[in-house]
C-alpha cells in the first residue's frame, strides 16, 4: 500500500458479538443487534451516534425484505443525523470501508456492525440465489454440494483426506469450548466423527458449519484517539481483499490466489503471525487457506473455534477480525491474521494483519 507518512494508523479498539444460536425466532434482527452494539460501544465509553462514522453489512436476501438494513439503523438511533454507509457484504468489508474513511482523516472513530439471521429460511436454498442467474442458479446447486466439490478436488489432488478434515473439525469445536458465544462447542475425537454418514460426499456433518443467527460489532479509532480509548489497541497494519472469477469451472478450487494476493498486499508475509482466525465455513476450506497463507504448525489457528463453531452469515468474517483484535487487547497475541470470505468456494477473500504495541 502506498503509505503517505501522514496517513493515520487505525486500530480495532472494541469488539462484541451475540451468543450465536440456531434459531432466534424470539428476536428481531434489531433486538439481536442492539445489545451487541451497547456492549461493544460501552467497552470504550461511547454510545451510538458518538462515533464519527458508522458502516454496516447485511443481506436483504437473508432478511427476506428490501432495505432490511434500515430497520437496524432505526434501532441504532441515527439522530441527530449521522455519517453512515452500508455494504451488502460481510461486516469485514464494512470494516474495510470504515478503515478507508479513517485513513482519509475525515473521521477518527467508526462503529462497524453486521448481522444475519439464517433461521427464517432454508440457507442452502437461499445461497443458490447468489450464483450466476443464467447458467448456475437455475440448477439450484446448494452451498454444501459446492463445498463438497471443492473438498473432493482437494482429496483427489492429495492435499488432504477425510481423517485430516475430521481433525480440523474436532480441533475447532474443542477450541470453542472456551468461547461462550459459539453455537457448537465440543467434539468427539476425529476417528469417531468418521463413523457418521456423509452429508454430501466427501463431507460429513462435522465438516459443515452450523446454520445460525448472530451479530457482531467493532469500534475503530485512529492514532492517539485509539490509544486514549484502549490500553492496547489492535493496530490494522494492513488490510486488502480480492475477488476471483465466479464460474467454478474456471477456478482451481484447490488454491486461493485471491487470498494469497490479499495477504501479500496486507503485509502478512512480512513477519510471522502468532495467531490466525480463518473464515473457513467448511473444514476443507481451511486446507486451501492454510496453503495460500503459508501458515505453519506454530500458528494458533481459530482459537475461537472459527466458522465451524459459529457461522452467522454476514457477521462471521467481521468476527474473525474482532476475535484476533480481542486477543491482542488482552495480550494473548502480538501479531495476528484475520481472514474473511464471501461467495461460493471462497470466491472473495479479505485478509487483515493486526498488531499490538510491543509489551
Amino acid at each position: 500500500m502506498p503509505d503517505a507518512p501522514d496517513v493515520p494508523d487505525v486500530a480495532v479498539v472494541a469488539f462484541g458479538q451475540s451468543e450465536h444460536r440456531a434459531n432466534t425466532a424470539d428476536l428481531s434482527e434489531v433486538e439481536m443487534l442492539l445489545p451487541v452494539l451497547a456492549e461493544t460501544l460501552g467497552q470504550v465509553g461511547l454510545t451510538a451516534g458518538e462515533t464519527d462514522f458508522t458502516c454496516s453489512g447485511s443481506s436483504d436476501y437473508l432478511a427476506g425484505r428490501a432495505f432490511s438494513f434500515t430497520m437496524a439503523l432505526d434501532g441504532v438511533g441515527a439522530w441527530p443525523p449521522i455519517s453512515e454507509s452500508h455494504v451488502e457484504m460481510d461486516g469485514a468489508w464494512a470494516l474495510y470501508e470504515a478503515w478507508v474513511k479513517l485513513r482519509t482523516g475525515e473521521a477518527e472513530t467508526a462503529l462497524v456492525y453486521s448481522y444475519g439471521k439464517s433461521s427464517p429460511g432454508h440457507l442452502r436454498d437461499v445461497l443458490t440465489r447468489q450464483l450466476d442467474p443464467y447458467y448456475l442458479a437455475p440448477l439450484w446447486p446448494d452451498s454444501v454440494s459446492l463445498a463438497a466439490l471443492q473438498a473432493q478436488a482437494l482429496i483427489d489432488a492429495g492435499h488432504t483426506d477425510e481423517r485430516a478434515l475430521a481433525a480440523i473439525a474436532a480441533r475447532d469445536r474443542t477450541s470453542a469450548e472456551e468461547n461462550p458465544h459459539a453455537q457448537l462447542r465440543g467434539s468427539a475425537p476425529p476417528e469417531r466423527l468418521l463413523d457418521a454418514d456423509y452429508l454430501v460426499r466427501p463431507l460429513r456433518g462435522h465438516d459443515a458449519p452450523p446454520i445460525g443467527d448472530g451479530a457482531a460489532a467493532v469500534v475503530l479509532a485512529a492514532g492517539d484517539t485509539a490509544r486514549r480509548l484502549c490500553t492496547r489497541p489492535a493496530w490494522i497494519r494492513g488490510i486488502d481483499h480480492r475477488v476471483e472469477p465466479h464460474a467454478l469451472g474456471v477456478r482451481d478450487l484447490t488454491d486461493s490466489p485471491s487470498t494469497r494476493l490479499a495477504a501479500e498486499r496486507a503485509g502478512a508475509f512480512d513477519a510471522p503471525v502468532d495467531t490466525a482466525e480463518l473464515h473457513a465455513p467448511f473444514t476443507s476450506q481451511e486446507v486451501v487457506l492454510r496453503k495460500a497463507l503459508r501458515l505453519g504448525d506454530d500458528v494458533t489457528v481459530n482459537p475461537s473455534g472459527g466458522a465451524l463453531a459459529a457461522n452467522p452469515m454476514m457477521a462471521a468474517g467481521l468476527i474473525r477480525i474482532g476475535e484476533v483484535a480481542a486477543r491482542i487487547h488482552r495480550g494473548a497475541s502480538d501479531r495476528a491474521l484475520a481472514h474473511a470470505t464471501s461467495g461460493p468456494c471462497l470466491q472473495q477473500n479479505l485478509v487483515a494483519v493486526l498488531e499490538g504495541d510491543p509489551r
Binding site: 500500500m1 502506498p2 503509505d3 503517505a4 501522514d6 496517513v7 493515520p8 443481506s59 436483504d60 436476501y61 425484505r65 428490501a66 432495505f67 438494513f69 434500515t70 430497520m71 439503523l73 432505526d74 438511533g77 441515527a78 439522530w79 441527530p80 443525523p81 449521522i82 455519517s83 453512515e84 454507509s85 452500508h86 455494504v87 451488502e88 457484504m89 468489508w93 474495510y96 470501508e97 478507508v100 474513511k101 485513513r103 482519509t104 482523516g105 475525515e106 437461499v126 445461497l127 440465489r129 447468489q130 450464483l131 450466476d132 442467474p133 443464467y134 442458479a137 481483499h241 480480492r242 475477488v243 476471483e244 472469477p245 465466479h246 464460474a247 494476493l261 461467495g343 470466491q347 472473495q348
Partner: protein, 388 residues
Amino acid sequence: MSKEPVAVVGIGQTKHVAARHDVSIAGLVREAAVRALQDARLGWPDIDAVVIGKAPDFFEGVMMPELYLADALGAVGKPMLRVHTAGSVGGSTALVAANLVAARVHRTVLTLAFEKQSESNAMWGLSLPIPFQQPLLAGAGGFFAPHIRAYMRRTGAPDTVGSLVAYKDRRNALKNPYAHLHEHDITLEKVQSSPMLWDPVRYSETCPSSDGACAMILTDRGGAGRSPHPPAWVHGGAMRSEPTLFAGKDFVSPQAGKDCAADVYRQAGIADPRREIDAVEMYVPFSWYEPMWLENLGFAAEGEGWKLTESGVTELDGDLPVNPSGGVLSTNPIGASGMIRFAEAALQVRGQAGEHQVDGARTALGHAYGGGAQFFSMWLVGSEPPTS
C-alpha cells in the same frame, strides 16, 4: 493530513430503456464500464479496484450479484466492494470509490451502479409485506405523496408547480440521448391531464422504471494529468442518514439532507450555493421534490423553493438549471439513478454534456436520496482542481 484530490476522468452510461431484453445483467454493466474506460482512454489493467452499487437485490432476483459480475467488470484479482444504501446508493457508491483514491489506497478506481428493473416489478418490490408496513402503501409514490401534500400546505405553493417540473425535465430529456423517456409530443396540458396516481402526483410527474447502468473512472492527480479530456474535480462529498420514522421527523425537509449539504459546502468552500453553483442534478423521482430539495439544499429560503421553479430559474436556460439531463423523472434505474446525478454533474463541469450543456458551468452539485427520505449522498464537482 492532506487527502489526495480526486478527479473524474471517464463517464459511461447505457441508453436507459424500460427493458433491455438484448443483454444479460453482466452485459448491461459491462456496456457502461467499457464506455467509461473509452472516455478515459484506459484499459482494464489500469483499474486498481471496482466499487459497485445497486438498490435491493430483489429487483433482479440475484443475491449479492457483484459476485457473479466480477468477471464482466474486470474485477478478477482486484478488490471489489458492493455498496447498498437504498435510493442514495448510486451517490454513496461513487463516494466510497472516491475515498479509496482520497486515502491513497488506490490510484484509479472503476465505480458503477445499475438496475435492471425489467427483471421484476420495482413498485411491488418496494411495497413491503405485512407486518413491515400497512397494506395501502403501494410503491414509493404512496409513501411520498403525503409529504408532498404537507409541503404544499406548509408553503401555499400553487397546485401547478409539480407539473412545471415534469414538463421541464421531460423536455430536457429530449436533449439527452441516454435518457429513457423521449416524449417528443409532450405539452404542459398533457402533464396536467395525465391520470392521478397518488394524489397530488400524476402519472407524468412520476419517474419511469428503467434498465440502465452508469460508470465512472476516478483517479488521482497523476491520473488526471494523463486524462485525454478535461477532468471533473471532486471538491466535496458527504453522506448523512437519519431514522425512517420518529416523533419530530421533518419529512418535508429532513435534517440529514440539510446536514449533508452543509458538510459538502463547507468542504468546497461554498458560502452561497444559489450564486456559486452553476448546475444541479438532484434526485427528483416525483416532480414536487424539486422545490422541496431546493429549500433543503439551501438554494431557496424555506417556503420559497416553488417560486424558483415557477419563475423558470431551474430551466435549462435559467439562472440555476436543475436536472438538465432530464433527471430521475425521465430515467430511473433505481440503483444507478444517484450515480447518474453525480456523473451528469461531472459532465457539466467537463463541458461534455452535449445538447443539455449548461453554458459555462464550472461548479455542479450531484445529489441523491433514498429510503424514507433518510439517506443522503452528495458531491460537488468543479472544472478546476481543489486549492486546499
